[in-house]
Symmetry: D2
Subunit: 162 residues, 4 copies
């Protein structure tokens, strides 16, 4: 099986930047490219920016677009960066794709922050995307969860088994 990897970005906290003009954080360009360059990765990959949305704003149509894009990719290994609030929901939508290893990750703190979980999470999830059996997974907080058996615990600020 080809180790080829396709990375899709959909927005979320991981990609937030601070706009002084608006005095607020908005989704910016995907941080993925900078993260992979800094990590000096030795594998080839495709990188597709699907949308730039807070995951609370993702519609059913958006999720369907993500599903269609993943399905259309000829890569067997898929990484998706996604806002954390509805990551579990999108993971469930992807479950009918049976022949790929699909891993979703994101961050609680933007990648542009000096202190962030984003870089660790991307590293962690990329490993899972290469190593896990076909299926849909969420890789957060240093753990790999199966889609359908995971939720974000807002109070704890962590993903936990459901």
């Amino acid at each position: 099986m080809s180790k080829r990897l396709h990375i899709f970005t959909t927005g979320g906290t991981i990609d937030k930047v601070y706009f002084d003009a608006l005095s607020e954080f908005k989704i910016g360009e995907p941080a993925m490219d900078a993260i992979l360059r800094e990590a000096n990765v030795g594998f080839t990959y495709d990188l597709t920016s699907l949308m730039k949305k807070d995951s609370l704003e993702l519609t059913d149509a958006d999720r369907e677009a993500i599903r269609a894009a993943v399905n259309a990719s000829d890569a067997k290994h898929i990484l998706i960066t996604h806002g954390t609030d509805t990551m579990a929901k999108t993971a469930e939508v992807l479950k009918d794709i049976s022949d790929k290893t699909i891993v979703l990750t994101g961050a609680m703190q933007p990648a542009r922050l000096r202190s962030t979980d984003a870089i660790f999470n991307v590293g962690f999830a990329l490993s899972a995307a290469q190593l896990c059996a076909p299926g849909v997974y969420i890789a957060m907080n240093g753990r790999v969860f199966e889609a359908g058996a995971v939720r974000k615990d807002r109070e704890a600020g962590k993903f936990v088994a459901d």
Copy 2:
């Protein structure tokens, strides 16, 4: 199989700090603790600092000490941070431990640098340590290599299959 994880640090570039008094970089306290805290990991682990050495200075006795410590751990999942120059050699020494998943990682740029591969690598390697079958692996540059089939390509600044 228990997912319990034991992390050993041995030094290497990943842990280098700058000592103004000496005008040079030396191995400092392991960066691992700060990395895991920042990543807000949701698994439990043991953390043991075995030595603080440049990997070019590691002796056969040091490697034997690493092997003995890993062997004595009751964890089935082992992560070792290690200097990159002789990481492949230490990996080979560990190959006679057959019932554990042992992953070595490190960094080309110190974790204390603003731009570093250390955090990505630790995330990537921790995932591999949880997911790979028992055996000895090197996780560097976003790839998982089996011990005995990997070397550091100094010119390219990357680990490659051997």
Copy 3:
């Protein structure tokens, strides 16, 4: 004249942190303390957190409270961190304090970002607070402006002489 320095923080972008629970940036604890520790400064200072507000939310009563606090300080050298949008307005309110050197600064990008103007600005402003003649100044973008002759150019993302 004593070189004693009193630093007041009032909030603004410089102190913003990202709250995942709210999916937004809010004013957090002042970044000043961390900045001064990292800079390993060799002078003594008092540090007072007056308020934690976006400068667009500062009321006349807030400005009066800032004025009263600065006036009551027995230090001759004053640094105030402040949101950028109404920094020029607060500077004008302080102009009737005639026997102190008062310098306002802030940041266009939060100090907690990996890439920020906050640390440079604090360093720059602290120097101005020590060196300028009594009066009220804004120290931003590597320049010292006199109160009453400066405005924020939102488009350019810079303070300019007015």
Copy 4:
């Protein structure tokens, strides 16, 4: 008097980068450019890289070259980045230039480190270079010292009045 500023870099810890191939830190490209871009400074300046040396390696000829370059500049405001160990010595050599404000600064920790005094120091020193009367100064640890009355206290890791 023109506020025009000329910045000279000579090397030192501030510009150190980590070379994995050598397993050591060496002077790299000046960090100044990146620092000024990140600070989004609103003044014009000239930037000249004179040498890339640890200050312990600076010879009398090097100091004479620095003196000549500063003397030849038509700017009245001069900032020099310099290694800390012999910064005080170079400052003394520059004392016969009487019509310029010359400020030396540097860092105890490389600018490329995640935690560094470099950015603060450059901000602080740039302010001093604009504000001080003609003369030669060292701006370190948040203080402005006159040349000839300052030394580096290695134990304390700080510059102190001599």
